[in-house]
């Protein structure tokens, strides 16, 4: 009979190698009360009457979704993670499957073909994907939290009807703000837009643009009136293939190597006036708003990465590797490091989920998002680095994923605002509060 049991347990799931529990930190035993996530996104809500719940509490729908995404990531993405990193490219079938699962339209309403879920669901999905592959995670992150959100918030009805169904089902989006001359100082961007008879013409270049190989839809920030300085910045929608649009170079990177990052040129790129996103001269406000939210996504990418790195190493230390006649996870010196790391991961997650819930509840979350991203990327860097050490030589070789998590973690301290920029944001809030 044992043979039957053996064939059953691992079952049809090819990659049943993992015995890790799903979302270990999120107990689902909390009482079934109305929680914040059941509120509609982007509405002013009064939450003063809602009994407080643990930050880690998920609604039933969120929990079911977390489980489904986790299973999908484990079975479908994990077997490809190493290969895609080595090839420095995203497997097109993975992109297709992200669309199929509804992971590219998390917050897009059902009437536009999206999943119609809340912001926190997007955060959960980004975290679950990063646990398995941070490159796949950032694709979904940029697409959902920056591109989709931009259209949902500021797109005209015409733009929404045209783009949301595509963004939900088959068209990847990119967000083009940074340039060779403007990184942290994003609003110093030099790309220019001029009005034409029936639209606009864009000239200039962008750098570091995530998803640009896979994307067909680009949100481009350009200055429509440089005399206004940053207040001239305006947002446009540009399709790949528009004459004058070209990808000049694909970067080779330290980490998240399966995620494409490119230099893009705009050479007299003409677009119709319908491709203006929102209003002229409002672009800088949109960019700030989007990045404030987007940061929570990057923070979730980093906590997911930290969880993935931890679980990978913990599985090894507590099941596989013996030295001095015992499992290495039995040594107190190892255990204390692991306990410390786990505590830091959960502290970071608390910041991430709190920022997400505050955003959903309509509260000011800017400082929370900055703290979440700052700390989550620090924890991800530290834990993934330690995880390599915990695994010894096996952590250092490119056979497993330990070294990949470590390399992937570095980006968290750079994009969507470097750690210094997060600190500046936090300090600015503090100074405002404490200046008498």
């Amino acid at each position: 009979m044992t043979s039957i049991a053996k064939t059953l347990r691992p079952l049809a799931r090819a990659a049943a190698s993992s015995s890790r529990p799903l979302r270990p930190a999120f107990s689902r035993t909390a009482p079934q009360i109305r929680c914040l996530s059941s509120t509609l996104p982007r509405r002013d809500v009064d939450i003063s009457d809602i009994p407080p719940t643990p930050i880690t509490h998920l609604s039933d729908t969120e929990a079911l979704m977390a489980e489904s995404v986790s299973k999908f990531a484990q079975d479908v993405i994990l077997p490809k993670a190493r290969e895609m990193d080595e090839a420095e490219s995203m497997d097109p079938t993975v992109v297709e499957q992200l669309f199929e699962q509804g992971l590219m339209g998390v917050e897009i309403p059902e009437e536009y073909g999206g999943s119609g879920m809340n912001f926190t669901s997007a955060i959960i999905a980004i975290e679950e994907l990063a646990r398995v592959d941070p490159s796949v995670s950032v694709m979904a992150d940029v697409h959902n939290t920056l591109c989709n959100t931009a259209i949902l918030k500021w797109g005209t009805e015409k733009l929404k009807k045209e783009w949301l169904p595509k963004l939900a089902t088959n068209t990847v989006g990119s967000f083009c703000l940074s340039e060779p001359v403007s990184g942290s100082d994003a609003f110093a961007l030099a790309t220019k837009a001029t009005r034409t008879g029936n639209g606009y013409k864009i000239n200039g270049g962008k750098m570091w643009i995530t998803n640009s190989m896979e994307a067909n839809f680009f949100i481009v920030f350009a200055n429509l009136d440089p005399s206004k300085k940053y207040k001239g910045i305006t947002a446009f929608i540009v399709e790949k293939g528009t004459p004058g649009f070209s990808i000049a170079k694909k970067e080779k990177k330290l980490g998240i190597r399966a995620s494409s990052t490119c230099v893009i040129n705009f050479d007299d790129v003409e677009i119709p006036k319908e491709n203006l996103l929102g209003d002229e001269f409002e672009g800088y406000k949109y960019a700030i708003g989007l990045l404030n939210e987007g940061r929570i996504g990057i923070a979730a990418q980093m906590t997911g990465l930290a969880l993935g790195a931890f679980e990978n190493a913990a599985g090894y230390a507590w099941n596989d590797r013996k030295q001095f006649g015992q499992l290495i996870g039995e040594f107190q010196g190892m255990q204390h490091q692991m306990a410390q790391a786990w505590t830091e991961i959960q502290a970071a997650r608390a910041l991430v989920f709190n920022a997400a819930r505050k955003k959903e509840a309509g509260e000011d979350f800017v400082m929370d998002a900055a703290m979440a991203k700052l700390y989550a990327s620090q924890v991800a860097g530290k834990v993934s680095g330690q995880a390599v050490e915990w695994m010894g030589g096996m952590g250092f070789v490119r056979e497993g994923l330990a070294e990949k998590y470590f390399r992937d973690s570095k980006i968290g301290a750079i994009y969507e605002g470097t750690s210094n920029i997060q600190l500046t944001t936090i300090a600015r809030h503090l100074q405002k509060t404490y200046t008498k």
């Binding site: 993992s18 729908t61 079911l64 979704m65 059902e110 999943s115 999905a125």
Partner: protein, 257 residues
């Protein structure tokens, strides 16, 4: 034939990837704070029902059913997110292994549900991975006096006949029977889908009937008493033999040859 009314019973069990542990009193397996999910064979059953509909077999309705603790509703939601039209939950208070239904109890309960729902096809897992009893489908077939095809690896519906292929030792066996019937599913039948996000949202709006055993006529009480539950003995380390002769003599020594 007007169309298939498919009933798919699903069970909430300890997740297949979790190593079960026996409780200290040796009366049952620890279930507190252990990850649970849908019995994997039941995922195959739901998937097959949904695929029948996708293959344009006339399917009137797919009903997912579960008897179990309040948390069993989670797996009914999963079943609905995979494509079942609605769910029925019979809430059972399982405390310390007491009050749990046995296969015969479940089969009797299912008979009542089949009668009420006018089901003409019941697709069950061939077993659930917690108790490994593998009895419910067959008992239900007997109680209803319906045809049954167990351990299906392929299901085809043609009019009011169902053709089921099953893998047997050294080949495949093909059975044909008329509806109504019972099918139990085996591993190679299909590959269950992942519930997509839009379908998870749709499942929220699908009806879920909540009932208790009192709503059904019959005696569903347990007839068996669990005497003792123990872990399997730890595996002893193996040895390496030099060659085939070495292996044969070792096997002889162990009395296996």
């Amino acid at each position: 034939m007007s169309g298939l009314r498919i009933l798919v019973p699903v069970k909430r069990v300890i997740d297949y990837a979790v190593k079960p542990r026996v409780n200290r009193a040796q009366t049952a397996v620890e279930t507190a704070n252990v990850k649970h999910s849908m019995n994997p064979f039941d995922e195959l059953s739901i998937e097959e029902a949904v695929r029948l509909r996708e293959r344009k077999v006339p399917v009137e309705e797919i009903v997912a059913f579960s008897a179990g603790p309040p948390k069993a509703q989670d797996i009914l939601r999963t079943a609905m997110a995979m494509g079942a039209d609605r769910g029925i939950h019979v809430q059972i208070d399982e405390k310390e292994g007491k009050g749990e239904l046995e296969p015969l109890g479940v089969a009797k309960l299912l008979k009542r549900v089949v009668e009420k729902e006018k089901s003409n096809l019941v697709i069950l897992g061939k077993q659930s991975i917690d108790d490994d009893a593998g009895q419910t489908g067959q008992m239900l077939a007997a109680l209803l006096n319906w045809s049954q095809a167990t351990q299906a690896s392929k299901v085809q519906v043609e009019g009011d006949s169902v053709i089921v292929t099953r893998e047997v030792d050294g080949g495949v066996e093909t059975l044909k029977a008329k509806l109504p019937m019972i099918i139990t599913t085996d591993l190679r039948l299909n590959e269950p889908r992942y519930a997509s996000l839009p379908n998870i949202m749709k499942a929220k709006k699908k009806p879920l009937d909540k009932k208790t055993l009192k709503d059904f006529e019959g005696d569903f009480s347990a007839r068996l008493k669990t005497v003792k539950v123990t872990e399997p003995p730890p595996r002893k380390g193996g040895i390496k033999v030099e060659d085939v002769d070495g292996m044969i003599s070792k096997l002889k020594e162990l009395g296996a040859l």
